[in-house]
Each structure stands twice: as structure tokens, then as C-alpha cells.
Symmetry: C2
Subunit: 343 residues, 2 copies
Amino acid sequence: METISPGRLKTTYLFNQSFASLLKLLPEGKVVIVTDDHVYKAQQEKFSNIPVITVPSGEATKQQKTVDDIIAALLKLQADKSTVIVAVGGGVVTDMAGYAASIYKRGVRLALAPTSILAMVDAAVGGKNGVDVGLYKNMVGTVYQPEYILFDYHFLSTLPQEEWVNGFAEIIKHACIKDAALFEELSNTSLSFYQHDPARLASLVERNVRIKKVIVEEDEFETGDRKLLNFGHTVGHAIENVHHLPHGHAISVGMVIAATLSEELAGLPMGDTRRLITLLNAYGLTTAVKFNLDTIWEILLMDKKRANDSMNFILLRAIGDGIIMPIPLTQLKALITAYLERS
Amino acid sequence: METISPGRLKTTYLFNQSFASLLKLLPEGKVVIVTDDHVYKAQQEKFSNIPVITVPSGEATKQQKTVDDIIAALLKLQADKSTVIVAVGGGVVTDMAGYAASIYKRGVRLALAPTSILAMVDAAVGGKNGVDVGLYKNMVGTVYQPEYILFDYHFLSTLPQEEWVNGFAEIIKHACIKDAALFEELSNTSLSFYQHDPARLASLVERNVRIKKVIVEEDEFETGDRKLLNFGHTVGHAIENVHHLPHGHAISVGMVIAATLSEELAGLPMGDTRRLITLLNAYGLTTAVKFNLDTIWEILLMDKKRANDSMNFILLRAIGDGIIMPIPLTQLKALITAYLERS
């Protein structure tokens, strides 16, 4: 157990502990679980005697309407300022429950129990939450730190293969922006290696949580280094909803595009984009998708990273060394057009 | 100009300055005004060449649905992280626009230009924002400090008499919990006195802003003294929506009930409730209303100040000296029942 304290709340990370041990830390009778119907089906025996609010699973439900439903359910349960919301699920659940906890009665207690690799190494860490507005991703939300994040690897036993692949996209992202040694380790191993070695998996998850945690501690409100975590996400988010690609595949394509731009603009050594593509493919990730730039561009313009006429784009100087570079929108559009013509 | 810095943002108070002088402090082309249709009609010449989002006026619109509409309008305007939302209106507008600013793209810049006495001395100060959920008041929202609060007393020239009365309820509240000398001043003057003496009005507003500002600076997230500001609001909020009473009248009744309980529980000298009733009546405020306790009680149970089986109730030890006292729900119900039987 160790704590960080970005903002007004400390987050305690509970690595390799059970869901029951999290419940023991919380006041009896004051816990409300928020989960989705898939997780509920698989894990309901863990929730006995605790009120549960269930949302439909899937990214399509990550909208204000679903949060309104969570709020209505909290009111019906007479949840008060001493209630602790415990989110159990993937990133969609932790994002929506975290957002609901931050606005219900202007903020109640919050604990997260991520059940997917993606949520463990990314979505649940750092306090960002929110919902999509139509096709625009994460347009509404807050930055609100949970009191606890529980890493119970037993949840992963029912995780579909597709979700493992999704999660490793964020792990590869961390390697690209901050950890060249991790990039090497991933290149020398495989997804199935981690799936069959619980100890190595636990240490991989913890290593990735630490990468994100350090960045977040130093920059809770994303005025600097935290922007690096958006590597691959600017174009990735835009194509994710338009092409109904899973998040991991979409940002995988986004990382390849960002790496290509990095060779041109940030001095990334020639051939490193090729190494990245090889690694992404080895972990089952898509690295190219045909897309219509005009449709994608409309969504890119709404990106939170846009400021006036330029976009704060994340590039690589080298594998393991991400940087933030404002790119004028006209130049960015020309570069992506050129990329599309080449590929 | 002076600043306070509760939380991550400093608030600059612009006393007795014009709306145009606020605009001069903000980046050209990045301002979006949020206002209601009444204020828009009266003030639109001040808004030329600035995009305006207009919401319907009135407490009934203070719901998530209206905030969803503000978000959709911001997206349509391609508002980005460098946009400044300027809320121009009464408490309903500043509450909704402040909430929208705090969640749009996880937080954009915010300035408030309150146009009513109530918003100037209360709603706009302290960073609390939010919306009602059905009949439950302020059930959803955040604590988010604006960068600027502008006090332009010219806005008051079109304020209806009813709204003056509403605003003075909060001024009398401040006197009750923190400022016995202000209670004396108010007892020796009248509403029409302040309406006809701009200098005395300006100094009255500033004095009240300072009372709230000091409390908020010391307790942004309401773990202590900030609760005092809820004097009269626990019962007041509950009867406000059920009986469709204006906010000032509802909390006026709430203050009388709280003062009555204070004589019983907190040593408020006998007769001070009578002095309070006289003052409230002199400023045109209702001090008694017939209500059905069972209906009110259902709403009281949802109050944010409830914790488990007791309610943190605000009482007076003396005029100018408020205290927080947890009252068990059973005792509270008995006391209000007795009050209703006597009155």
C-alpha cells in the first residue's frame, strides 16, 4: 500500500489484493457498487448484501443519459455524502462511475476496482473520468481522484482475448513515451506469455501503473507532461467511433501515424516506426485502417488538445522519449493526407 | 481588485466595474456568454459580436437537460480548452454555466457576472454550482472557482422588486450567522434606503461578499465553517420547491424555524427569534407558511447535510454567531412537529 496525493484526495493503490479486502476498508452499509451487466453476471457472488447499480455494457452507453440514470439510482438508495461508490468494471464503468461520484451532491467517496487490463493500466489511474457526447469522446467529465484503486487479477480470468489485446495497446504506448526497456521486454515476449505467468503479469501491470502514476502526480490537470499519455489518441479517438474500432486498435493506428510524423518532425530514427508496427502486430493489434480524412478531421477539430489553430500533438524523439509539439492545423492535415496517400 | 485562491484557481473580485471592463481582461474571440432570455432581452446591446448561449429563465430549467443543451451549444461553437465562459444572470444562470464550465472538456475558463442581489452576495461567490434533480435542490454539481466575478451594479436597474426581496434574505442570513452589527444596520434602515443610495448599496454588497468569501477561503469543500451558510436552507430548500415559494421567502421561513430551534437547543436568547421575524417582515419576506411535514420530510432526508441518522443543522447561539449542531433525525422531526403545532 502506498499513496499519492494529486489534488485534494490521496489515492491508495492496492496491488494484488482481493475485492473482499477492499470492502474491509470501507464503512459497512455505506457502499454502493456501480458495474455493468456483463461484470455483474460474472462476479455477482462477490456483491452479496451490497446495493448494486448496473449499467448496460459497451462504449455506446458512455453518455450523460447513463450517468443521469446512475444519479437517479443513488437518490433512490438515499445515498448521502458519506456513501462510497465502488466502480467495478472496465474503463467505461470506471469513467462513468467516477464522473457520477464527482458530481453527485458535489462529490462523494470513490473507489475503483478495474476488471480489464486497459482499465488497470490506464482508465482507472489518474482521476480523469467522463462521458462521450454523441461521437465526440470524453467531451464532458471531471478530474477526480479515487480514494482506492484495487488491482485484483482474478477479475482477468474471464476477460475476453479481444480485451487483452486492447489493454496491451496502452502498455505499448507507455513503453513508447517513457520506457525503452519495457519496449524491449515486450518485443522479446508475447501476450500469451503474460497470460500464463501471473507473477510476470502482476509486475507488468504494476510497472505500467507506476509510469502513469508518476506522470499524473506531477501534472494532475494536464498542463504539461500528462499530455504525453495522449500519444496515438488524437487520431485514434477520431477514428475509434467513426469506424467502430475497439479502443486499442484505434490508438494502435494512431500511434503508427504519430510515429510516422515523428520521423519527419521530431527526429525519430528511421526504422523505429517499422519496429513499432512489428510489435503492435505481434500483440494482435491493427496498424492501418482506410479512413476518410474529411470525416475524421471534423472530429479532430473538437479534440480537447486543440488550442486555436494548432493541435498539441504527441511525437517521439526516440522509442521511450515522447514530446509535446504544437502542430498548425494546416500542416497536420497535409501530413496526414500524405500519410494516407503513401499507405 | 484582490484575489483569493481556494483550490486550484484564484478568483479576482471586480467590485463596482462595468461589464465592458471585464471583457477587456479576456482574450478576444474566445469568450462565450451564457445567459437567460430575460437578461438577454434587457442587456443584449452589451453582447454585440460575442456568441451567446441563451437558456430559458426560471428555477424550473435548472436541470441537467439544460446543461446538456449548453454543452451541445459549446460543441457547435467549437469551444476549446482556451474558451472563457462568461455567465451573465441570476443564481440559476451562474449555477448552470459554472457547472457546464467545470465539466466541458473537463474544465474551461469561467467568469461570472451576477445580475441580481442574490447572485451577487451568494450564488456567484464560493464556487459551488449545480442543478436540481426533479424536486431535489442542487443534487448534482461541482465546486469550481471562477477566475473573475464582476459586480456591475447597473445590472440591478432592471431587477424586479421581488428579486430585491429575495436577495436580502441572504443578506439577513449573513448578519445572523456572522455579523451582529450588520443585523443592527439592517434593522435601522430599509430596502428602499439601499435602492436609492448606490454608494451604500455597493458597500452593503461588498460587505456581504466578504463575509461569504472569508468563510469559503477557509473551507472550500465544506468540511467546517462553510456549513454555516446553510442557515435556514435545510428546511428552506425542502419547502421551496414543494410550495413553489421564491428562494428568499423559503429560506426566510427556514431561518425562523432554525431560530426557534436555536432558542431551545443553542441558547439563543428568548426574543431574538421575534427580532428576526420583525426584520424579515420589514424587508418584505414571508416568515411562516403552512406545510405538510410528511412531504417536506421526504425531501429533507435527501439533503446533502444529512449523514446517516442525523442532520448537521445550523443554529444560532446569538445574533451574529452561528454554529453547526448534528441533530438526530427523530429529535429534529419532533421539534419541527412541535413548531408546526404552535404556529
